[in-house]
Amino acid sequence: MSRLAVVVFVLICAAFALSWAVRAGVTGGDHALREAFLVTLSAFMTLAIMSFMYRDNPYYKFAEHLFVGISAAYWMCVGFWSTIVGNLVPRISENLSEFFKVPYSGGGLDFDLFFLPYRYFYMIPIVLGILLLMRLVPKAGWLSRWPLAFIVGTFAGLNLIRYLQSDFVNQISATFVPLFVEWHGFGDFIGQLSLAADGQFVAMMTNLIIFLGVLCGLIYFFFSKEHTGWFGGASRLGIWILMITFGASFGYTVMGRISLLVGRLTFLFRDWLGIMS
């Protein structure tokens, strides 16, 4: 650790200690010290992460590693409560759920399946889970493929069908837009031809563009045909439309990202430094 680093460290500690003291003074009331400390702590974390924008440094490393540890623990605790206590226990045994004080969801009356109370069948996933733990045993590691296969398999089937319906059939039928909006014959069409945004012509053009856009987009995704000739043209049009879209949604996103920064800075200015109302 170089001398400079030590000096910087000392300075930073001093600065935050000071801000802690000031904050405590400002807030007052009982637990003032504690509350002030917590705010200062989170301000420190904020700045430690932001220092990454300059370059990688010990403070960022510290924050990063703490982040990993705490978040893993948080995820584990929540998982424990919501999954084990919240979902597993109430389903397998009444006594256990009484011990964990969660409502027993097996229902007062369970019915038999193959002459066994059906909750016994929850032993199967538990066994699968134990097989998953077999990974930790080098010799029996391959056993863990069974639960993995189960998870992957079930959800492959599930997603297959759900996406087929929603991303597919529904989207296709959504492309069935009327080409001729309120069509009353050609003469009529010529008669009131206008470029008004809500006019008939514009509406028809819009529908047409959308439809062609979808087709070209799909053509771009063709893998087993050379993109040459009219086909190539269409696919180029397709990728152009895609690019426009991506540009647009990039532009749209900037807003959101800035909001987040606003959120953080507001915290620093208002809750920590107290220099804004």
């Binding site: 409502p103 949604s249 900037v254 807003m255 959101g256 990202r257 987040l260 920064l261 606003v262």
Partner: protein, 305 residues
């Protein structure tokens, strides 16, 4: 004082950009860290010295507003808080204003969350909106919080057919059957409107795909700007309205406040946030311009060589 500050800040930014432009014409790249500094200033300044504007709602925002406005009094509206503190700056304002609107129209509000972190977010809305603006609203009668259940889309798949199975009690472990507000609610089909507020996964898209589509219940959303474009294809067919990012929230706040004088004094975080938005957008636009100037200059030089 505020004005002075903002003027100085803007002058600083403008001058700096001009200088960078000149350097660009001379063919000098802009240092990454310099860009960061500019962004920091352009966001920080408008926060310290506030600016706000009036704005009118875009149709897709209007659609959600009208939907809530026109539901018969006492309809059951399900609001799902599918976001977390980091996303909160964007989504919390929507959650607040939409909840306020729902309760103001005397609808029955049923709150839940698919994110472990959503519960804390709801508590904020509970304090800031429900307890403050609607002291008369009773828990379990006018609104109820069902809390969080793990399982993401799994939860949706279950509650689509059987709500009680996933939520046997509300967040305060009051049993389902003793909550009057939930009388006649068996599955998601029994709601008149489903609103998911979130920006991640599971979020609005999952609600539409796993619940909205199969049950044909009108579904709307308030989302972080990043996912908004992705949801446009679902409107108006599979969704009945969408608030995209802080602008959507600001428009909604503005429109709601103008049409419900009773809440004229309400907080409008989203509208306040439009100030930094504006300046930062200008700065980024400027940087894009500078980048292109630089590009053409360098290319001309290469051509010369």
């Amino acid at each position: 004082m505020g004005n002075l500050g903002i003027i100085i800040a803007l002058a600083l930014i403008g001058g700096g950009l001009l200088w960078l432009l000149i350097r660009a014409i001379r063919g000098k790249e802009v240092n990454r860290r310099l860009i960061f500094v500019f962004i920091l200033v352009s966001v920080a300044a408008p926060i310290l010295f506030t600016i706000t504007f009036e704005m009118k709602p875009t149709p897709i925002v209007q659609a959600l507003y009208d939907k809530i406005e026109n539901l018969p009094e006492g309809s059951k509206v399900l609001l799902s808080f599918d976001f977390d503190p980091p996303m909160a700056p964007e989504v919390q304002p929507m959650a607040d204003v939409v909840s306020r609107h729902v309760l103001a129209k005397k609808h029955k509000a049923i709150f839940m969350t698919l994110w472990a972190t959503g519960q804390a977010q709801f508590n904020i809305t509970l304090e800031e909106v429900i307890r403050r603006d609607f002291p008369e609203a009773r828990d379990g009668v006018d609104y109820v919080d069902l809390g969080y259940k793990a399982g993401n889309e799994g939860v949706l798949n279950v509650i689509r057919t059987d709500f009680k199975k996933m939520f046997p009690t509300d967040v305060n472990t009051v049993p389902w059957d003793s909550l009057p507000i939930l009388n006649g609610v068996r599955s998601c089909s029994d709601f008149d409107l489903i609103i998911s507020l979130g920006g991640g996964k599971p979020g609005v898209k999952e609600w539409v795909l796993f619940v909205g589509d199969p049950t044909r219940v009108p579904t709307a959303g308030g989302v972080a700007a990043v996912v908004a474009p992705m949801l446009y294809p679902y409107y108006p067919g599979q969704m009945c309205g969408l608030l995209g990012g802080i602008k959507g929230a600001a428009e909604y706040e503005n429109y709601f406040r103008d049409n419900h004088p009773r809440y004229a004094g309400m907080t409008t975080p989203a509208m306040l946030m439009m100030g930094p938005q504006t300046v930062a957008h200008v700065v980024i636009l400027a940087f894009i311009v500078i980048g292109n100037v630089l590009y053409f200059v360098t290319r001309r030089k290469e051509v010369k060589r």
